[in-house]
Amino acid sequence: MLRRVAASLFWAARYLERAQWNARLVDVNYSLLLEVPPRDADPWEPLVRITGQYDSFAERHSRADEGAVIDFFTFDRENPSSIRNCVEALRNNLSPLRHLISSELWMAVNGLYFDAQEWSPGILATQGVFAFFATLKDRFYTILGIITNTLPRDSAYDLIDIGTLLERADNVSRMLDVKYHFLLPRLEDIGGPADLRQWGAVLKSASALEAFRKTHGNAITVAGTVDYLVFEPTFPRSIRFSIERLAAALERTTMAGADQSSSLTFSKELLERLRSTSANQVIADGLHEFLLDAQSRYARLADLIFREFMSLD
């Protein structure tokens, strides 16, 4: 596979994952606020913090209210990670690769792109916030399903996997970091219904709530949530699961190429760290520091992958 093509597949996958993740974040927060009366003045603010683009948001909005945040996440052309921009980037990365992917995949992505071009904030009023995001999430699942069902398991698939999983690990760690920061100080709530709801919503943002209950029952705790989203080896959106699969995909990609792979070595080290520690341990040592460190490692891994498989120098 051409190195330029590898880069496009990698980025297409990252944007798809990011768009899908953002849709779920908004959707979950919207539902949560209907169920639980907000305690903060700006219950939408943490969402903007998760994106790491709070400053750019604050420059253009005086308050992080529902309308502004949903607009920022969904339609905003100024926000490079808005769903609309992600869909556009996904489509533009795949567009020159139509010859490499299935026509079903191309048509699903291109159809979504054309619809997204037509979106305006008014669509939420006409369709309803629930219905809009429900349909949107379905369309992302459709695209993911087409990827799984129509693409051969070759190096192109591995690169899509690598992009998806790296983005996923990064998103989970960012969300946990911000939610932990905002939710933890309320010690009086610990174990109370509001707390359950809040951490339930964190799990739900990663589509993990139902899966979590199967193994952990109804006792949603901070440690339990961190354990599940970071260390759970069986759940497809946990960080450990993502890094494990990413390392396997890297190994296949490398086997076709160079003997010594710095990105593979690095991802195996990441995996080893995850295997050798626990939720209680990282909470005791400082979850924020752990997650911050993780994020910088994902950035380093992305850089290594780029140099090894994509750079044209």
Binding site: M1, L2, R3, R4, N92, R98, H99, N110, A256, A258
Partner: protein, 477 residues
């Protein structure tokens, strides 16, 4: 020659021509609402399939759908058989000419074409001298623009033997028509076009250096901003070959490689869709980032075949066009099967003075351009345009030719439904671009791209200037 354009579908009495009878009956039998919906349905299918072309300098993202008219153009078997023979004859002659010009130059020595007309052409490339492609094939892909004049005969309007485009629309148009009018297309026994990508790949593979068993072929594109980028994606997909950009390629030790995830991989045949000027910064424009440095040297070493070859543009130079009938007689001792349009070279003083007096009665074309750029149609041009043309001709007479205005044939075309007016069938001017492949044997795509000038009265069919296209149906019997 009468000056009325002929109608491709109806005779002078308004009766459907025999080969078109079934199509006319089908369209007349369709209720007006369904007829009116056809363009919109086609438009949606193109959009979902992502069939677009890019327009330079367009503010709206630059991606557009090439307008499509669902009324098919019919070519009866007999007409096509003759055209096909004429096209093969012509492309063989153009190829022989390129080979000659960059080799022996017999046609110059024998006084058939003036030497300075060739050496002085903007399309002549010194770098091509001495490069000997396998089987002498310089022109692997040719698109020959034909028009049907008011006498009913097809004429060659111009040749395209550099990087002709449009073939992807032929294939996509057929896919659309198969969905819009499946009953009709099946009932009529229309010749298939789907084998083109396989034929193209076969023709390209036949060019590979001798020692290579199963050659690696790649398509070189200037990238997503090129107007024909969709076609590059489409063809590479259909052929199952890599679509590469200049930055994906590198020349090492007089061999061509592409940069892959698992290291460098050898390329044996390059189907390039970028112009000579950008192909190799070592030999041509040094500022080009689109090509690959050292490619010409790799070609010269015989380690890669590049299609079409360097410098083939000398054969579609509009001044050389005037000599194409002489070329066919010279190389093959045959009469040209398809006539050309009478052409005046403005480099000749007597001719120039005569034409300049009546400039408003002629079409003036720059010799080195393509795609309809720089063409002045005398009867439709303003006094100001004519004055500018006159000045340009006087400044550089060899850079222009003049031709009488040809009344392009017209074809019924759906109008109105896209801008809200009532749908109607109205005559619009059309041309035809068939595609000819030269490998060890010639392969001709049945039909070709029918382009239609959608504006009433307009004769400019180019996609960049308001043209659309139709599916072209060559009948089996």
């Amino acid at each position: 020659m009468s000056d009325e354009p002929i109608n491709e579908m109806f005779d002078l009495q308004g009766r459907p021509r025999s080969e078109c009878a079934r199509v006319v009956a089908y369209l007349r039998g369709m209720d007006s609402k369904r007829l009116a919906e056809l363009p919109q349905r086609a438009h949606q299918m193109f959009q979902t399939m992502g069939v677009t072309f890019n327009v330079y300098g367009d503010d709206e993202g630059g991606e557009r759908i090439f307008p499509f008219d669902p009324v098919p153009r019919i070519i009866p078997k007999q007409t096509w058989t003759e055209l096909e023979a004429g096209l093969i004859q012509r492309v063989r002659a153009l190829n022989a000419f390129v080979s000659d010009v960059y080799g022996e130059r017999a046609i110059i020595h024998d006084g058939i074409i003036p030497r300075d007309l060739i050496i002085g052409s903007h399309q002549f490339r010194h770098a091509a001298i001495g490069i000997k492609p396998r089987d002498g094939v310089h022109v692997t892909v040719a698109g020959i623009d034909l028009v049907r004049a008011s006498d009913g005969r097809f004429h060659v309007l111009e040749d395209n033997v550099r990087t002709p485009s449009g073939v992807s629309y032929v294939l996509e148009n057929r896919r659309i028509m198969a969905r819009l009018m499946p009953e009709l297309i099946r009932g009529l026994r229309v010749r298939s076009v789907e084998n083109y990508p396989a034929d193209l790949l076969a023709s390209l593979s036949e060019l590979a250096p001798d020692a290579v068993d199963s050659p690696t072929v790649a398509l070189l594109t200037p990238g997503p901003f090129n107007s024909a980028f969709f076609e590059h994606v489409f063809l590479s997909h259909q052929m199952g070959i890599e679509l590469v950009e200049g930055r994906d390629l590198v020349c090492i030790d007089h061999k061509l490689f592409m940069r892959t995830v698992s290291g460098l991989r050898r390329v044996d045949v390059l189907y390039r869709r970028i112009d000579d000027d950008f192909l190799d910064p070592v030999v041509f424009r040094p500022d080009s980032l689109l090509g690959v440095a050292g490619l010409t040297a790799v070609m010269r070493a015989g380690n890669v075949a590049v299609a079409n070859g360097i410098g083939t543009g000398i054969a579609d130079d509009k001044a050389v066009y005037a000599y194409t009938p002489a070329m066919i007689r010279y190389y093959f001792n045959e009469e040209p099967i398809i006539p050309i349009v009478e052409t005046f070279l403005l480099r000749d003083t007597d001719v120039r003075e005569r034409i300049l007096k009546d400039l408003d009665r002629y079409v003036v074309k720059p010799t080195g351009a393509s795609g309809g750029y720089g063409v002045v149609i005398g009867p439709q041009a303003s006094d100001e345009d004519l004055a500018i043309a006159r000045k340009q001709i006087e400044a550089d007479p060899a850079a222009f030719i003049a031709q009488p205005v040809i009344q392009l044939s017209v074809h019924p075309t759906l109008t109105g439904s896209l801008n809200g007016d009532k749908t109607a069938l109205a005559p619009r001017h059309v041309d035809l671009r068939p595609f000819v492949l030269m490998g060890r044997k010639p392969r001709v795509l049945a039909g070709g791209l029918t382009r239609v000038a959608l504006r009433e009265g307009s004769m400019i069919v180019n996609s960049s200037q308001g043209g659309g296209s139709k599916d072209t149906w060559v009948l089996e019997d």
